[in-house]
């Protein structure tokens, strides 16, 4: 009851801002109202018994409710991307905040950033209480939420507020190629090269992140270092999306779909980037009769960058779980997944002899891995898709599962099995 009242209060605060536009104080008030609502839900979590069996499950909703939510989310993303006029009535919610922080009026992306970061922080608080008995979950939730707040929201806003030129610099620094599919596009490269010290820092670090940091860090810790601890997509998935994790299917068919989608997408962005960089270096805008933008950049940006990662990636949470994008589309996940699978210290180990086949691990795996099948055999889980969220270990009622990064795990694994 308290939670419903808190949500109604927050909605009322939003409506008041949209209708009356009372200024910065009003905007702070609605943000505070949502935090209060999150606190009410966190309080409810704190009163639950420990253990996954006592947690709320979206699976219990009637399907029509989940479809309705999916329709609402995909609709909202579609409006955001392709009908910006539809978002304008909501800009009073964040306009004075935008002016105060970055010295510019609010636009749809600022609204999106505030909403996204607010969701991650508030949901993160709820999730931290939900998993309060597990040190790994507490730390991971705190880090991924702070990564979103600092790198994806605050730093770009501050840079803009300091009148640092070039919109190319007002971006999430930790977002790198190939997830940041436009990093090597001419307008970005031009802006970075002309962006002074900060621009050069972004350019060099952007290249180092994918070429050096990603493979080395994935070798040491598996791709969890990014996917579960730093990534903004992962941040939303692990916080707001946590309640949807049991919707990820673990059938062999879904595993096949994963591989048939994610690696071709990695191939696509790789080819497109080579073409774009080649054209940039050559100083041309087309390669033969093919326009670089029309053929290589724009289709990927629409299909993968907007439709898949945004509309479907989040919109389908209520239908396919909280990692739709990460499982089926993210090229960075594919890139790091190859390293994790072939040569990495990371593995999910299982204690032979302890598994009771209850299936809690498989049910809670957001990447649709049948962890139970490995645990029953006492085998390590060394799957490319594992993001190391650690929830399988947290829910196991017999403490059979453990995330490890050890030298024992760092062997070449080139066989096709598993």
């Amino acid at each position: 009851m308290i939670q419903i009242l808190a949500v109604l209060l927050a909605l009322a605060a939003c409506a008041w801002n949209v209708i009356r536009n009372p200024g910065l104080a009003g905007e702070v008030a609605w943000l505070a109202a949502w935090s209060l609502a999150a606190a009410a839900f966190a309080w409810k979590e704190a009163r639950r018994l420990p253990g996954f069996a006592h947690r709320p499950q979206v699976r219990r909703w009637q399907k029509v409710g989940r479809w309705a939510l999916a329709a609402a989310l995909t609709g909202a993303y579609s409006v955001l991307y392709w009908w910006p006029e539809g978002v304008e009535p909501l800009l009073p919610l964040v306009d004075d905040l935008s002016t105060a922080v970055r010295g510019a009026p609010a636009d749809r992306w600022w609204l999106y950033g505030v909403a996204y970061t607010g969701l991650v922080l508030n949901s993160g608080a709820i999730v931290a209480v939900r998993y309060r008995h597990d040190a790994y979950q507490r730390r991971r939730t705190a880090v991924v939420a702070m990564a979103q707040l600092v790198f994806a929201f605050t730093v770009p806003a501050i840079l803009q507020g300091l009148d640092v030129e070039h919109a190319a610099l007002h971006r999430d620094w930790k977002l790198f190629w190939p997830l940041d599919h436009s990093f090597f596009e001419p307008y970005r490269l031009d802006a970075l090269r002309a962006g002074g010290t900060i621009g050069r820092f972004y350019l060099i670090s952007g290249v180092l992140l994918f070429a050096v940091v990603a493979p080395v860090a994935t070798y040491w810790w598996g791709k969890r270092w990014y996917c579960s601890w730093i990534c903004g997509c992962g941040g939303l998935a692990e916080t707001t999306g946590d309640a949807f994790r049991t919707l990820s299917t673990s059938t062999p068919k879904s595993w096949k779909w994963e591989r048939w989608l994610i690696y071709p997408i990695l191939g696509w962005i790789s080819v497109a980037t080579v073409a774009v960089v080649g054209a940039y270096i050559a100083g041309v805008e087309s390669i033969g009769p093919l326009s670089v933008y029309a053929v290589f950049t724009r289709p990927y940006g629409f299909v993968v960058g907007a439709l898949f990662s945004g509309v479907i990636g989040v919109g389908f949470y209520p239908l396919l779980g909280n990692r739709v994008w990460c499982r089926f589309g993210c090229p960075l996940a594919a890139y790091m997944g190859i390293i994790q699978r072939v040569k990495s210290r990371f593995r999910v180990s299982t204690q032979a002899g302890g598994c009771i086949s209850c299936g809690a691990c498989t049910l809670h795996c957001e990447m649709g891995i049948d962890v139970r099948a490995y645990a029953e055999r006492g085998e390590d889980v060394r799957r490319a898709s594992c993001v190391g969220c650690g929830v399988c270990a947290e829910v196991c009622p017999r403490d059979v599962i453990r995330l490890e990064s050890t030298s024992e795990g760092a062997v070449w694994r080139l066989n096709a099995k598993d």
């Binding site: 018994l49 420990p50 253990g51 996954f52 069996a53 006592h54 947690r55 499950q57 699976r59 219990r60 008995h133 597990d134 040190a135 790994y136 180990s349 204690q351 032979a352 002899g353 302890g354 598994c355 009771i356 086949s357 209850c358 299936g359 809690a360 498989t362 049910l363 099948a373 029953e376 006492g378 650690g390 270990a393 009622p397 017999r398 403490d399 059979v400 453990r402 995330l403």
Partner: protein
């Protein structure tokens, strides 16, 4: 061609079927009475709590295994067939009885109409999932009893737990450890009554220490092996039939754990298939759970002496057992996550006390709970003395 008929699709039967199917040494038929496919019986509590659905608990059967849903009502060791209810007969060249055990019925009086529930069979979980008593009592202090208690607390019921023994889980825990666990259970609002046998279930529930009013009760006082049909058929008789075998909970000295039953089934299946297998190391790995405290007991041999440390406030404990030569032979942990692979390797190596200085290989850290380094060091000091 050999035809293996396995009666009972629990962990022992399923493991035997999988081993035989993998060996491709003949046809494999797996007969289950409760449910068409194998399922995780330990997971039934999560079905009863509504956290899992039927499909989540169902376990895959290898494609080469023919799964049959039915109850075996008769069999002929001489003519080598089993008969299902309905008259269908399945011939066999080898038969494996893995029919497990059933819940022991409450020995006292039950008032007519008083709702009593157990959590042993597939249907029990579904039945329980629809119940919402305001007050709830549980008879039986074992693992399933603890699960039924947690179920009641999770439903918001005022919950009483009557345990016959003077200490909770006395077969696994020392008195001090048991007291810590009991304190934690009471901290969840459970009315725990130790040394309290129950005589009658009804309105009221009559125990050795008084009467209680509850709307419904759960009973979990152990299991008894299921019967094998047939006039002259007993487990003793099966032992003399060369092509008949009994494994799992149904066997008189059968294991009483999911893992042990699985291992027994796999080993029998591989033996019947003529496949080489290495006998399992003689280490037992027992894990049970009471609310949020897992009790893990890893044993190579019965220890001669033990050292232990108990944190009563957090209900965490560690106990190490050593043999007369000072070799590590047992580890018991409550509330700490042990790495049983590493500990079993230390058992196999006959690790002495002074080889255990570094505790980190033996605990699930840092992903698990805070490493008990101080507690571990103190234990080793006590052991060295």
């Amino acid at each position: 061609m050999e035809r293996f008929v396995i009666i009972g699709n629990g962990p022992a039967g399923r493991a035997a079927a999988a081993a035989l199917a993998a060996s491709r040494s003949g046809e494999v038929v797996l007969i289950g009475r409760e449910h068409p496919v194998p399922f995780s019986r330990p997971g039934l509590i999560y079905r009863a709590m509504g956290a899992m659905r039927d499909a989540d608990l169902e376990l895959p059967v290898p494609a080469e295994v023919q799964a049959v849903h039915g109850e075996v009502v008769a069999w002929s060791p001489e003519e080598r067939w089993v008969e299902l209810a309905g008259g269908r007969r399945e011939p066999f060249s080898q038969v494996i009885w893995a029919v497990g055990a059933k819940a022991r019925p409450f020995p006292g009086t039950v008032d007519p109409g008083f709702p009593v529930f157990s959590l042993q069979e597939w249907g029990d979980a579904q039945t329980l999932s629809h119940q919402h008593p305001r007050s709830w009592g549980v008879v039986g202090g074992g693992l399933v009893g603890a699960e039924l208690v947690e179920w009641g607390v999770g439903r918001g019921a005022e919950t009483h737990w009557w345990v016959r023994e003077p200490h909770l889980w006395s077969e696994r825990l020392t008195e001090e450890e048991s007291s810590a666990l009991a304190r934690r259970v009471r901290g969840f609002g459970v009315h725990l009554h130790l040394a309290t046998p129950v005589h009658r279930l009804g309105h009221p529930v009559v125990t050795a220490k008084g009467e209680f009013q509850v709307e419904a009760a759960g009973v979990a006082i152990g299991v008894v092996p299921n019967a094998i049909p047939g006039d002259a058929c007993s487990l003793d008789a099966i032992a003399h039939v060369p092509h008949a075998h009994a494994i799992g909970d149904v066997a008189p000295d059968g294991p009483r754990s999911w893992e042990a039953a699985t291992r027994a089934g796999r080993e029998l299946g591989m033996r019947l298939a003529g496949m080489p297998f290495s006998a399992s190391p003689p280490f037992s790995d027992d894990r049970t759970r009471c609310f949020d405290r897992t009790v893990t007991t890893l044993t190579a041999r019965t220890p001669t002496w033990e050292v232990s440390t108990v944190d009563a406030r957090t209900a965490r404990s560690l106990r190490l057992g050593f043999d007369e030569q000072g070799r590590w032979v047992r580890a018991v942990a409550m509330g700490w996550k042990l790495r049983s692979n590493a500990i079993k390797a230390a058992f196999a190596a006959g690790a002495p006390v002074d080889a255990l200085a570094d505790a980190r290989p033996f605990f699930n850290e840092p992903e698990g709970t805070r490493l008990p380094l101080n507690a571990w060091a103190q234990l080793l000091k006590d052991a060295a003395r």
